[in-house]
Symmetry: C2
Subunit: 263 residues, 2 copies
Amino acid sequence: MPLPDRGLDFGDGLFETLLLRDGAPLFLEYHLARLGGGLRRLGFPDCIARVQQYLEQACTDIASRGWRGCALRLTVTRGGGPRGYTPPEPASPRILVTATHLERDCGTAAAPASLTVSSVRWPTQPLLAGLKHLNRLEQVLASAETRHCGADESVMLDQEGRVISAVAGNIFIASGGQLRTPPLTHCGIAGTRRQLVLERWAPAIGLAVEEAELDLADLVAAEEVFITNSLFALRPVACVDETRWANHRICRTLFHCFLEEIG
Amino acid sequence: MPLPDRGLDFGDGLFETLLLRDGAPLFLEYHLARLGGGLRRLGFPDCIARVQQYLEQACTDIASRGWRGCALRLTVTRGGGPRGYTPPEPASPRILVTATHLERDCGTAAAPASLTVSSVRWPTQPLLAGLKHLNRLEQVLASAETRHCGADESVMLDQEGRVISAVAGNIFIASGGQLRTPPLTHCGIAGTRRQLVLERWAPAIGLAVEEAELDLADLVAAEEVFITNSLFALRPVACVDETRWANHRICRTLFHCFLEEIG
């Protein structure tokens, strides 16, 4: 990659993780909508048309390789510029696409995950909350800790100890026929699959769903817990430390909504 | 630069901005101490010896070009690795050095700066407070706003509205013969020149100095305000919005301490 690049220097950029099936990106419009919103909030020039060209080219290439499943990382940085924090005006965004072959077929539900609670907490920053920007040191440190603990994933809390998310995904809890996920007003990443559960999949099965502040007591008292991200869609949670769940009924039902959408 | 690189992907790294005079880095031991502390906190393998080799090579090269003043950016990332947040174990850190020629001689005091108050606030994150890591979106957005306002610099507050720093530097206020700078326990970057004022330059002139929480009322009531960073050492503050200071006596006296140290 040519240097300097403000993505490397300051994390001045955004990314998306897209799941491709037979070279076709799933829920592309959701990813592009989030990316477009992020570009506006960071003051980037609109480069969505160019992003789409890059993606089409990458998808054609991946389809020709015969890859069934593929994780595509799309990165958009503010490009180069002079020394220092001040962004060039206008900026020339740089677009990078990286493809990783996936063995697992996304049509198969992921096995229930064992979670612990991370000691790494989200930073409080309403200005950047929801964005999938490149400043991800908390996720890096939390992931290293998760591996050290031997868990599959971790629950990440905010600075006040409220439940926000998994390290690489959003979190939902079900209690009394009601699905809840934390609001992302001061930290967290607004996941595309989280949005799909809220707007399409939970309504499709007639399940009430809302954003609600959750603490660890709400989590361990839940009847069912699952996490969402773009690579596995929905994944049941088997345990958070000593608290175990054998019931994954809602997660499995919502996963069928996902399967129906992808055909 | 070879890809993937976790510095680009996640801001998984640290940097230092060193001032070189005739090819010699100023206060190198302070920069290396901060960098070494950051590497440990992020769980990087110790690569300080290799960093020193890179720096020596860069300094030799810059000296041979006859550059009087030079800003050297040293970046250390966790290097490459497989897809996803989890860092490889062991990581192979990547070291990058970029040099920018400076017209201004660091022996000349910078002109007093006009400041505004940024609407961009520091995130609350005790885990990363003090580190000069690569997650710097707040500085980018605050710098863009500063330029838009026509100011030289901006005061950055924390989420509770306390004064923390300038965008690219630390801040000190003087009142009643006492120098104060905000503690950096939950956000901010622990600047090398801030440390030098605290540990060496203020004591050298017999001036009491302490870390103390400051709000905007303390700032505007101060008898004198100045900011510090590695490129200008100490810079007087002429105004913060409508509040003006003509008195820069302490800043000038401390700048002489700096001049005496660099010879």
